[in-house]
């Protein structure tokens, strides 16, 4: 990243593409609706196809540093936001009383939801933002991405601590 906007977008494309594959696969392991799990399994296949189509459509390898694979990444991130919100909604609807503070899935859902909710609209507009308002994009990227990185990492740490404490009990 520099003053003239972000020019290492291939790094972000790679990491976001991988995270849009890994996180839904991770969410499949959460307790919950079988329908949603089936949907996520299909989504992974569709997502890979979308990435390939987008790469071909945008002639990505011509300039991988300044092109963001916006559509598949936004769809991928929606496929993270919706199941996380769905999991929280299921907890809300459930008759069971569980301790939220010691539920690792709850913390992971909150973390994923907060992080991807904050960055998805930004990533959706990233190509245009980077082209027309590069300075703003650099600053916004630093504040939002790094700020919410802190939130998601904190949630993951709490979730793993919950797991350790629960198994120690």
């Amino acid at each position: 990243m520099g003053k003239a906007g972000i020019n290492n977008l291939f790094v972000y494309n790679t990491t976001f593409t991988l995270s849009c594959l890994f996180v839904p696969w991770f969410i499949i392991q959460f307790p919950g609706s079988e329908k949603l799990k089936r949907f996520l399994k299909w989504y992974i296949l569709v997502f890979v196809a979308l990435v390939i189509i987008e790469i071909l459509k945008k002639n990505y390898f011509q300039d991988p540093g300044t092109i963001m694979l916006t559509y598949p990444i936004v769809i991928g991130q929606l496929a993270i936001i919706v199941p996380c919100a769905w999991y929280l909604w299921q907890l809300y609807k459930s008759d069971e009383v569980s301790s939220l503070r010691s539920d690792p899935h709850f913390w992971l859902s909150v973390g994923f939801l907060a992080y991807y909710a904050a960055i998805t609209p930004y990533l959706a507009m990233m190509n245009d933002l980077n082209k027309y308002y590069p300075d703003f994009t650099s600053v916004y990227h630093l504040v939002v991405t790094y700020g919410f990185n802190f939130v998601i990492n904190l949630s993951i740490c709490i979730a793993f601590l919950c797991r350790t404490l629960n198994s120690a009990k």
Binding site: Y92, V110, P121, M125
Partner: protein, 268 residues
């Protein structure tokens, strides 16, 4: 123009992020509130069930007490009187009797005496008023005497500390627990010896009933098979009613130990 479009883009972007975040935050907040409510609701239901079970048990015990009282009175007043009359009739048989007849009358007298004694024992252990009158230590003593007479197993009875006055209702419940434990030993344990220890300290009492019988497995204790386990569960619910803690330790072929920890300020 460019600036206006820029502001619009930024507003749209920040607003959509904020909207999703606010919705997510509201969902998490609602989740915490609903979990808290559900927890309180569940707690209230558990308390209601507990109170209801206590009421039922209390009523059962009251009915049992009244039934025992009636049976005890009937035994004492009717059967006891009949035995006494029979003894008087035996004593006042007219005419001369030979030695053989004398022997038979003596034997019958002895049997009627034994019947009267057994009747008194049963009447005493059934009658709650008598139990209240003589206290826990003596009530258990009489109960043990009754079991000793059967000759099925030897029983040691050790009392430590000074007996304090126990609320009559609680005393009856504690006595029934001990009675149930002793009946279980007699019926199921196949024990050759047993011991009952009463340990009085300041406002607390530890009762331990131990035998060297066949014992039982943990599986049986936790199972829903009510045949041998119902007595144990009865004891547990009775102990709960007087705020006592009941512990059962048993191993197959190594006997059983039942311990009751009772504190005088327990709830009823």
């Amino acid at each position: 123009m460019q600036d206006a479009k820029f502001s619009e883009v930024v507003i749209i972007m920040i607003a959509s992020s904020a909207l999703i975040l606010i919705l997510g935050g509201l969902l998490v907040f609602a989740l915490f509130i609903s979990q808290h409510r559900k927890f309180r609701h569940k707690q209230t239901i558990a308390e209601m069930i507990n109170t209801y079970e206590k009421e039922i048990l209390h009523t059962q015990l009251e009915i049992q007490t009244q039934t025992f009282e009636t049976i005890s009175r009937e035994l004492h007043d009717n059967v006891g009187t009949l035995i006494s009359i029979a003894m008087v009739h035996l004593d006042s048989l007219p005419g001369h009797r030979n030695s053989n007849q004398q022997e038979k009358i003596k034997e019958s007298h002895k049997l009627l005496d034994e019947a009267m004694e057994s009747l008194r024992d049963i009447s005493r252990s059934l009658n709650p008023e008598k139990l209240k009158g003589i206290g826990l230590v003596r009530s258990i003593g009489y109960e043990l005497e009754k079991h000793r007479k059967t000759g099925k197993f030897n029983i040691d009875y050790i009392v430590r500390g000074d007996e304090f006055s126990i609320d009559p209702q609680r005393l009856i419940i504690l006595f029934r627990i001990v009675q149930e434990a002793l009946n279980n030993i007699a019926k199921h344990a196949k024990a050759s010896s047993a011991s009952v220890n009463l340990d009085f300290s300041e406002q607390s009492l530890d009762i331990s009933i131990r035998d060297n019988g066949i014992g039982f497995t943990e599986q049986l204790l936790n199972s829903n098979d009510l045949t041998p386990g119902s007595g144990l569960r009865n004891m547990e619910s009775r102990a709960k009613l007087v705020g006592a803690k009941l512990e059962i330790a048993s191993k197959e072929n190594q006997g059983t130990e039942i311990t009751i920890h009772y504190k005088e300020n327990g709830s009823i």
